[in-house]
Amino acid sequence: MILAYLILILLAGSLLALLTGRKGNLWPRVISVAAVSLDLVLLIIFSSRVSGTDGKWLMDLQLEWIPRFGISLHLALDGLSLVMVLLTLFLGIISVVISWKEINSRVGFFHFNLLLILAGIIGVFLSLDLFLFYFFWEMMLVPMYFMIGIWGHENRTAASYKFFLYTQASGLLMFIAILALVFVHESTSGTLTFDYVQLLGLEIPAAKELLIMSGFLAAFLVKLPVVPLHNWLPDAHSQAPTAGSVILAALLLKTGAYGLIRFVVPLFPSASAAFAPVGMGLGVIGILYGAKLAFAQTDLKRLVAYTSVSHMGFVILGVFAFNVIAYQGVVMQMIAHAISTGALFILAGQLYERIHTRDMDQMGGLWEKTPVMGAIGMIFSLASLGLPGLANFVAELLTLLGTFKASVLMASLACLGLVAATIYSLRIVQKVFFGKMNHEWEIADLNLREKIVSAVLVVLVVALGLFPRPVLNLAGPAIIKTLDSHPAQLTGLPDSGKSAGNGKTASFNQLSGMFKKH
């Protein structure tokens, strides 16, 4: 039941925040922090009691919902979803805290939306019923649309429409694919069910499998996003309020990555193997093109948004490399990107609060005025370019390592992305904090609240950079299970296939050992 409570607490919190919004601005903020923290504490307590090293679900909950269609409230937690939910809750708290001073109008409604989004994201990470998954997938949209449309910057309306229409259109394609999958299952087994566990291992005719998979891919690749489908992202990210940008970049994009690992790869083993070269190609294009566009931006938030496109390229690259090391890299990338990009958006928000512009040409020489902010900006820019010792390095290294086994060419091309990342990341620091001061800003450095938020993020990004083992251990069994018996592992790709396929556990241990030495 604890899994359902996680979502119910957030829903109850959101209603409470809405209702107390009339009484004052403090109430919704306190309630939101309390609700998310309660979730976090509950999750930590209960997940530490169960141990699941054998790849089974750590927790599993199935309740009847619409039995006529074989739809149930099926929530389950494994290592991968546990990592994602922990990340969600952690960044949820951060989002509330950074909005403390930024959001001063309709505070109750703001936190109502914020908690609803979090509930939706957690639902996505926990659902094991495809209908329920789609339900949560869509549920995130409306509050996010409100958040961008009400509290966003100057072009908020257009950005909110774009976000909604892109995600809804691709989501509907996934919905059709879900139904098609369910019908294929019904025609072979005779039972109508949306349950993930029952749909696993379904034999689908090859042509159909590719078609159904593309429906799922549409939704996930738009969310991730992959380059030709990324158009909504820079607008949505740059127009959203800080908390909105943080949630979009750090969490919403990850639902796409999670969907790939949880649904596309296990449900469509042969089709996903066939798609691998295209998928990896899209990843490389995303890495390079995103980096190029990031370099060309003058709007700080747009720049950070494009770095997300680049970083998410590594995710899709790793997913379609089909080996444990690459998948570990993907999981690390999700977390590292969430923290570093989240932190950069927070920084952009703090700057905007002080100088009311996001234009980097207006900035410059801010280090003198705000050394602490400058240092924080420096750390996260370095994280973003993949400096060893920080979490992003581990992520990118593992992804590239895994990819190298699958395709040397793709890995080499992706490495160029690291160079590009160096250029755009250093450009942030250069343009914002160094150089000549363009304006005589009289601005304050970070206050205590902001310092605490930044410090927590810095500690995390360093800690995970030096000791990534807890995350790898947590997500490891789930990843091995996902890749287990995947055809690309055994036959599909040259070289990588055998070593990773036969020695899955071995390579995992080897990997753990690699980081133990630190």
Binding site: E64, W65, I66, P67, R68, F69, R106, F109, F131, Y134, F135, F136, E138, M139, L141, V142, Y145, F146, G149, I150, T157, S160, Y161, F164, L165, Q168, A169, L172, L173, F175, I176, L179, A180, F183
Partner: protein
């Protein structure tokens, strides 16, 4: 006719008796509140009598009426919607200067017409019901005699409805010529086995579809819809969008399934074309509307297009999905028009989308209901519309109607844009333009509607169970 027949017609009798009693009461004591209270009571009694009727079913009365669970379901939907419209009308019509008690009278006669359509098993009853519905609607649409737009809408509706009735009659006559019977079942049994779909029957059915298409506002018979929706009093627009269309849909489904129209290639193409045109034209024309009543008019055109898809499934499950879709569509549409009604007075309607600016902050409760209605029309989770669309797509795909489903998906995305426009306008800053306060009466109706939208959206299992257990043809 036996006594059991009378019992099974109980709801119809109640609805038919009520206006008679009202006429007598009005001639003795003309009091708005009394008439209103009586109307609400009569509708509740009629609804309650549905449960009493259940044990006498199914029953065919003099080969004219077919009272079965299917018709009972539609009667229930019709009566419940009429009741909601009545409650929502109270404040709006109350602000109307001049004689206004007859409004409820016309509401009852039109509901009687709609109910007859739901139980029709014969062309005579079909036509009788449709005319009763239409004639009452002329009165209701033009009820605000002092307003030019209202009178214009009334005349437009009168003229076009008459023409469409003529088409319908001619079509019925042709089918009668071809088959020699006017009973649905009789027509069906004569068509069975023979390939008689050609000739008189095909032409006759096409003619009938013109008449039916007009009532359902299917493209290309939709021209009247936006003008009438805009000109009619808001609660009457709600009534036309729901009760009137639902009743015609009930008889169309029954007739179409009786003659197994989905098996005929010709009918299949005709219905598919109507569906696709209605979806595209309805949604595309809605995009640029500045008037929310016109926007909802175009949205209703598209929604009827979606529903036609289920007509082609040819299964009981398709009908069940249609019933669920109609229930959800009714609740949602009445919700949207309900908010418009309650924020309007009969002198001045709040009908521009810009009039709703800032509603989120000035009237959060009304804005919530309107937002939920829009989201439900767009088919977003947590609302009835989401489950309804899911049900529709599920049965449509199962029946192999992939083309129609894909068209529908494309249209859902187009539709989303204009539903979002309404919501965006509500949270764009604006000032309270002196909209009327919502009375307790109106708030009660809004609470019911909100609960309906949310319950059907979050926990629809019970209703789906009831529908699948009971509804079949």
């Amino acid at each position: 006719m036996t006594i059991a027949d009378l019992y099974s017609m109980m709801p119809l009798i109640v609805i038919a008796m009520a206006p008679v009693v009202m006429m007598i009461v009005i001639s003795v004591l003309r009091n708005y509140e009394v008439i209103y209270g009586f109307s609400v009571l009569a509708f509740i009694v009629a609804f309650a009598s549905l449960f009493f009727t259940g044990s006498f079913l199914p029953r065919s009365i003099e080969s004219l009426l077919i009272v079965d669970v299917y018709s009972l379901f539609f009667l229930g939907i019709i009566i419940a919607s009429a009741l909601l419209v009545t409650i929502l009308s109270h404040d709006y019509i109350g602000t109307f200067g001049g004689v206004k008690e007859e409004y409820f009278l016309a509401l009852f006669t039109s509901t009687l017409g709609a109910s007859l359509l739901a139980v029709a098993g014969h062309f005579v009853i079909f036509f009788l019901g449709l005319e009763l519905l239409s004639v009452s609607l002329y009165i209701l649409v033009a009820f605000q005699r002092s307003k030019d737009t209202s009178v214009e809408a009334g005349i437009k509706y009168l003229l076009l409805a008459s023409v469409s009735s003529a088409f319908l009659l001619f079509g019925m006559a042709l089918i009668y010529t071809g088959t020699g019977t006017m009973q649905f079942a009789g027509v069906a049994s004569l068509l069975k086995g023979s390939d008689a779909m050609a000739g008189f029957v095909s032409v006759g059915f096409s003619m009938m579809m013109v008449g039916i298409g007009f009532k359902l506002a299917l493209v290309p018979f939709h021209m009247w819809t936006p003008d009438v929706y805009q000109g009619a009093p808001a609660p009457v627009s709600a009534y036309i969008a729901t009760v009137s269309k639902g009743a015609v849909m009930a008889v169309l489904i029954r007739f179409f399934f009786d003659i197994r129209g989905y098996d005929s290639r010709f009918f299949f193409v005709v219905i598919s074309a109507l569906a696709i045109l209605s979806m595209f034209i309805g949604n595309l024309l809605a995009l640029k509307q500045q008037n929310i009543k016109r926007l909802l008019a175009y949205s209703s055109i598209a929604n009827m297009g979606y529903l036609l898809v289920l007509l082609l499934t040819g299964t009981d499950k398709g009908i069940q999905a249609a019933v669920f879709y109609l229930i959800s569509y009714f609740v949602t549409t009445i919700g949207a028009f309900g908010v418009i009604t309650l924020l309007s007075t009969s002198r001045e309607e709040t009908e521009k989308i810009d009039d709703y600016r800032g509603l989120f902050w000035t009237r959060p409760w009304a804005a919530l209901v309107l937002t939920l209605s829009m989201l439900s029309l767009a088919g977003i989770p947590f609302t009835a519309g989401f489950i309804a669309k899911f049900y529709l797509i599920l049965e449509g795909m199962k029946a192999g109607l992939m083309l129609l489903i894909i068209v529908m998906i494309i249209n859902s995305v187009i539709g989303l844009y204009y539903y979002l426009r309404v919501i965006t306008s509500m949270f764009t800053p604006g000032d309270d333009a002196g909209l009327p306060a919502i009375s307790l009466n109106g708030n009660m109706a809004l609470v019911l509607i909100t609960l309906g939208i949310l319950i059907l959206g979050i926990y629809p299992g019970w209703l789906i169970n009831i529908i699948t257990r009971l509804v079949s043809l």
